[in-house]
Symmetry: C2
Subunit: 194 residues, 2 copies
Amino acid sequence: MNAQLLISNVLKHISLDDEEKKLFASLFTSKSLRSGEFLIHEGDVCKYESFVVIGCLKAYKEDAEGNEHVLDFLIEEWWADDLYSFLTQTPSKSSVRAIEDTKLLQISKDDLETLYQRVPKFERFFRLLFQKAYIAQREQINQMLSISAEERYIQFLKRKPYALERFPQKDIASYLGVTPQFFSSLKKKVGQLM
Amino acid sequence: MNAQLLISNVLKHISLDDEEKKLFASLFTSKSLRSGEFLIHEGDVCKYESFVVIGCLKAYKEDAEGNEHVLDFLIEEWWADDLYSFLTQTPSKSSVRAIEDTKLLQISKDDLETLYQRVPKFERFFRLLFQKAYIAQREQINQMLSISAEERYIQFLKRKPYALERFPQKDIASYLGVTPQFFSSLKKKVGQLM
DNA sequence: CGAAAATTTGACATGACTCAACTGGAGTGG
DNA sequence: CCACTCCAGTTGAGTCATGTCAAATTTTCG
């Protein structure tokens, strides 16, 4: 198992000595998913926190009519999984599914608690992750309230320039809250402007 | 200063002995706001975490054209303030302003750190708050993606039946992401259905 | 290659916005 | 206590953004 990407990600937020790095790496196990496979199904309790080493996934929720609503895209160096379900050990309200072949590193809730006790500064690291997720969401809400679908799409492209190549259009449409048809015309229009 | 409401709120999540209650209460100071006064201005660093004892406030953000976008309403037994700004001690991206005369209890960042060290289980309490805020936001995003303004309004009334009496209509409209005019017609239509 | 899924395109329908005018209540000053 | 002003809220006409439905086209993948 190669944990280098994971370690270097952690080092961006807190410092670690060799001992701590070794302990940290030893608590993770690796997992692979083929495109289309589930990391979590809605209703499952999320037992692991997962770090994306390579690949990409979407987090989404189904409404009463069975329509998918994409909440987020996860790529390399992001943490997948339903954070809320993981922390509270209650059933997840959303699903996470690979949209490319994906390799993950996973840590269980118990091992994470162990880690907190032995190296308390990891608590800070994971709290920072949570905070980032929180503020990113707040931005997302704010954008949805204040700007048009076209502007949202342009912002989205700025933040994730690789989006059109990596994510299916219908998932991007869902993430932005528009129909695939309307997204198609948006894309054409915006493409001509640039 | 009367901290009973605050203490009983904390006791819903963690247990405390008398000693701990006393310490906790001693770290808070009270603050009053008249209707219309600011708790935080956009751009300020949020120095205190505030618990609403009585009254209500709105958290909002202004866009480039100067339009308000209401992000949240805060009433009794809620925590006001920009959590992100408080935790990271960076300038707030939103403002919080009283819409009724309001009484708050406040704790500073330093005192909160002291509290964490002396009674570590408070760390859990505040982390739970954060998690709740996170999941509430995720619900909000999900609703915005999947349901119409009319349905959102009906859901909102279910969650906050007191809303029409306590909050100005234009603020509710902004919270739901519609114009005051359209909100007015929504209200009429939904009122007739019920 | 063939079938299924994703994307595009066009006609039409509707939800939500803009603008403008009107109503009614809450101060404020004379 | 009245007249005046100032907002918040309402109403209606016209418009634009986005959705729906249906069909054509392209891509994906077994």
